[in-house]
């Protein structure tokens, strides 16, 4: 990189002007301070947002294995990319994670919220309506590994268990449900009901500090979060912790969350979403410090003293490398996590991920694991680590016991934990190249699938249930 010299121009594309929301030419530009998306609006001039901390990371991410498969089902294109998404044949990725919003009700009003809720006109998706949307998604995709049920706050839906049961059908591998945990904390029956449905919980947990909780959520809900986590543990609900990393606010809480990932058996993964400055809360949040995927990876490296390093992450092959990073960590069950990249090269992990979010322990993977084990052994690795790997192989590939891939996946996840880093786009970071590769898609009126950030930035406002025109 230039030592303080001229910026390095990388590429250009189309984005959005925050001020007038008109399409704007955007450019990826590297400077000594990082890689920025720089936008130019003839009326509002230029502005920029950080998308990677170093040029080296950015260039490596571009070269990483990708698995962009065009959608098999598309709608005719009627307008510009993103604003008219459906998807059309220009979209570069099939839907791998349909995101169902089942309510616009929420019992919080978080200053960091990037969506719009309407407690004033509460709406709850009926089980039949959900069924119609599922039919549509399955017909459009031919089946998905994952569906995500979100809101609003899904636990406010009076028929949540019924909805989750409706999601259990052929063609759907797993159901995840987002929650702020408030109701889980006070209703012991809810965690058990969730466990019955087989759904995985995604518990928002941004901070363990009461004052920051007020800053991020409008009030101190740390106690409720801890109670919700315990309730999920007691009920045996596999859980993802979802942290919104807010630049300048809660970056130093990563170690505590990593510790929960390492030590709580039911916590299978940690998703770190970087703060998105859009929506009813986020749109006005200050300061607007964009943390890119690389920024989270660096902070994980610092938080773990390099035990989980930046090089242990790979871009999720199904998505744009600026949107998703992932690392897999072998847990020894005693609180230590070993990055899987020490066992298998990132390319081998990318192969197993293919175009999905979850490692697929196929038959070929057994051989790769065993080869990795041999390499580890030959390099004189710690016997405890070798034992952990052997244990993993025995559990996921029990001799003489044929298992389907989903069962293998469930078994693997007890021993292999995951950190996902997910950077959504807001007006400052929106760029159609990322939108085109989005695998997280929102079914709209059971007739369109819209990439999640395209939905948040352009489609939500067409639906009065999820939009407040002049939000104060």
């Amino acid at each position: 990189m230039a030592p303080g010299g001229e910026p390095i121009f990388l590429s250009l594309s189309r984005g959005l002007c925050r001020a007038c929301r008109r399409p704007a030419e955007v450019r990826y530009v590297a400077t000594p301070e990082g890689v920025f998306l720089e936008r130019f609006c003839p009326e509002h001039g230029t502005s920029r947002a950080l998308v990677a901390e170093t040029l080296a990371w950015y260039l490596a991410a571009l070269q990483a294995p990708s698995a962009a498969r065009p959608p098999g089902w598309t709608v005719p294109r009627t307008g510009e990319c993103a604003t008219s998404c459906g998807p059309c044949s220009f979209h570069g990725q099939a839907c791998h994670l349909p995101v169902f919003s089942i309510t616009n009700a929420c019992d919080l009003r978080c200053p960091i919220c990037f969506t719009y809720n309407r407690p004033d006109r509460a709406w709850f998706m009926s089980p039949d309506e959900l069924e119609r949307h599922l039919d549509f998604v399955l017909q459009a995709t031919g089946g998905v590994d994952l569906v995500n049920v979100t809101g609003g706050e899904p636990t406010m839906h009076p028929a949540l268990p019924e909805l989750l049961r409706r999601c259990r059908r052929p063609g759907i591998g797993r159901v995840t449900v987002n929650t702020n945990g408030l109701r889980l904390a006070r209703d012991p029956a809810l965690a058990a009901a969730l466990a019955d449905t087989g759904a995985y919980a995604i518990l928002s947990l941004d901070t363990l500090d009461p004052q920051r909780s007020v800053r991020l959520h409008g009030r101190d809900i740390v106690g409720e979060k801890r109670a919700a986590l315990d309730a999920l543990e007691r009920a045996g609900v596999p859980t993802t912790l979802l942290m919104v990393l807010v630049g300048g606010v809660n970056e130093d809480e990563l170690p505590a969350l990593l510790d929960l990932l390492a030590t709580r058996a039911h916590v299978r993964s940690l998703t770190v979403q970087t703060m998105t400055y859009t929506g009813q809360g986020g749109g006005a949040f200050e300061p607007r410090l964009h943390v890119p995927v690389e920024g989270v990876e660096r902070r994980v490296e610092e938080a773990t003293g390099g035990r989980i390093a930046r090089r242990d992450f790979l871009p999720l092959p199904a998505a744009h490398p600026l949107c998703y990073g992932v690392t897999y960590l072998l847990s020894d069950g005693a609180g230590t996590l070993h990055p899987m990249t020490r066992l298998l090269p990132p390319a081998a992990l990318a192969r197993q991920l293919a175009d999905g979010y979850l490692l697929r322990p196929t038959d070929g993977f057994e051989a790769e694991l065993k080869e990795g084990l041999d390499r580890l052994w030959a390099s004189g690795a710690d016997p405890a680590l070798l034992a952990t790997v052997k244990d993993l192989v025995r559990s996921v590939y029990p001799p003489g016991e044929p298992l389907d891939v989903h069962e293998r996946q469930r078994r693997a996840e007890r021993r292999v934990k995951t950190i996902y880093v997910h950077a959504h786009m807001d007006e400052d970071t929106f760029e159609i190249g990322r939108a085109m590769r989005c695998p997280d898609q929102v079914p709209v009126h059971a007739e369109r699938l819209v990439g999640a950030c395209a939905y948040n930035l352009f489609h939500r406002q067409r639906d009065a249930r999820f939009w407040v025109q002049n939000d104060a």
């Binding site: 001229e6 910026p7 498969r69 570069g92």
Partner: protein, 460 residues
């Protein structure tokens, strides 16, 4: 089935409308896919190798700002170009169109009709003043057209641009007038002008197909001899056309390798201009040229000897340098020096730089070679040659006149460039934004070559 990689801005193949586009992989091939509200999806091949394309993207270096910009305010890309403060590279290779007239009528001409009238010598001076106001100095200025040698005051133009701030003057020519006028050849040789000769091959069939005249090849080969006999400096520019002259590469390389006076070869895959632009999915792209050059070089070159040029957009150029030993053997420089150092040497110039910094970088790279224990081909001969270069360079000193440095380079180093011009189908705004080959205009504007060629001169 294709794999979407990234978005850019590009032109509809049919109507040229600027809009959303993406880079997508179709197997190992790289396509530019465009969407137009009127004509739907159109596409063009931009690289025949996904691996080369991805690797090239990592060859990036900071741009250099010109001293000042002709278009002072930020402007819409590309039609208001000229350059505005958003253009990401200075004018490394100015191409000065001095006349629209030409004594040939090539079917695929890319400049046809874009120059309105010949510039007077006074106008040429003004354009050069404007250029130097932006750049301070330029290493090489190319006179082009039309056919520059048919300018009525051609030699006066040459003298008018032969200023101390301009290192080398080169003339991009079809050679027709020069082949008839040995006095003019001598005049150019005496002035140290590089004759950049369009030479697509040595067979009459190639000339007939690409230039409309079968007798050109023989005339050009005679001209090569005449220029060399006159002590002139030559470089060759070859247009490579699918199904026409791929088979001419060995003969053209042979000319380059054989003659000390031919310093460089530029290979330009034919861009889609003219009435029948060809199948945009069957275009010749850089990785194919690299592979054909390696195959045609009789073992002198390997594909790995070529690298993208990082100062322009890395998908626009590829290049290699060959060291000529004192025994006449040719050894690719990338096979001798540390790739990182090599990259520094070629970083910000489309020719071996004559600036002080690059001179020192070359010297460092060569010293490193001198002291390395690496296994290099023809080691003894190479080291003797390197020593010779170091002696010559040191004799010039760090404040050397660019011409002197270039002369040292020309004695010992040959270059091969591949330049992928864009046409309407392959035009990618991400590439245009970092273009360093500009046409200076009478009004002071500097137009990137492909913006000019594809979008025309109407707005200038």
């Amino acid at each position: 089935m294709h794999e979407t990689f990234a978005a850019t801005r590009a032109l509809c193949n049919v109507c040229g409308r600027l809009g959303d586009a993406k880079i997508a992989f179709a197997g190992d091939r790289v396509h530019l896919v465009k969407w137009c509200p009127e004509h739907g999806e159109t596409r063009a091949l931009v690289s025949s190798s996904r691996e080369w394309y991805l690797k090239a993207l990592a060859y990036v270096k900071p741009g250099t700002s010109p001293r000042s910009r002709s278009v002072a305010t930020l402007a819409e890309c590309p039609d208001a170009c000229g350059l505005c403060p958003r253009h990401q590279q200075h004018t490394c290779v100015p191409l000065l169109e001095i006349t629209p007239a030409c004594d040939l009528a090539c079917p695929d001409c890319l400049t046809d009709g874009k120059v309105s009238a010949a510039l007077s010598v006074e106008e040429v001076r003004k354009v050069v003043d404007g250029l130097l106001a932006r750049e301070g100095q330029v290493n090489m200025l190319t006179l082009t057209g039309g056919e520059p040698t048919v300018h009525p005051d051609f030699l006066e133009v040459v003298d008018a641009v032969g200023r101390p701030e301009i290192g080398i003057v080169s003339v991009s020519t079809n050679g027709l007038r020069l082949s008839r006028e040995p006095d003019l050849v001598r005049a150019l040789a005496d002035r140290g002008v590089v004759i950049s000769l369009q030479l697509d091959g040595t067979s009459p069939a190639t000339s007939a197909r690409l230039r409309g005249r079968a007798d050109l090849a023989e005339r050009k080969l005679r001209l090569v001899d005449d220029v060399l006999a006159a002590g002139g400096r030559l470089s060759l520019t070859m247009t490579l056309a699918r199904g026409v002259n791929e088979g001419e590469l060995p003969a053209v390389l042979d000319l380059l390798f054989r003659h000390d006076g031919i310093a460089s070869l530029m290979v330009q895959p034919l861009a889609g201009f003219g009435p029948s632009p060809g199948d945009p999915l069957d275009a010749i792209t850089i990785p194919e040229v690299v592979s054909r050059l390696a195959a045609a070089s009789r073992g002198v070159l390997a594909e790995r000897d070529f690298t993208p040029l990082p100062c322009s957009h890395p998908t626009c150029f590829a290049l290699t340098y060959l060291l000529r030993t004192e025994q006449g053997a040719l050894v690719p420089l990338p096979s001798l020096v540390d790739p990182e150092r090599y990259l520094d040497v070629i970083a910000n110039q489309a020719m071996l730089d004559t600036g002080r910094e690059s001179l020192l970088a070359v010297r460092d790279a060569l010293y490193a070679l001198w002291t390395s224990d690496g296994i290099v081909p023809n080691r003894e001969a190479v080291l003797r040659t390197v020593k010779r270069i170091l002696v010559d360079l040191n004799a010039l000193g760090a404040d050397a006149d660019p011409r002197g440095v270039l002369a040292v380079g020309a004695r010992h180093v040959k270059s091969i460039f591949i330049h992928q011009f864009m046409d309407r189908a392959t035009f990618d705004l991400s590439r245009a934004a970092k273009c360093c080959n500009h046409y200076p205009q009478a009004g002071g504007r500097l137009l990137p070559a492909c913006v000019r060629n594809v979008r025309g001169g109407a707005r200038c």
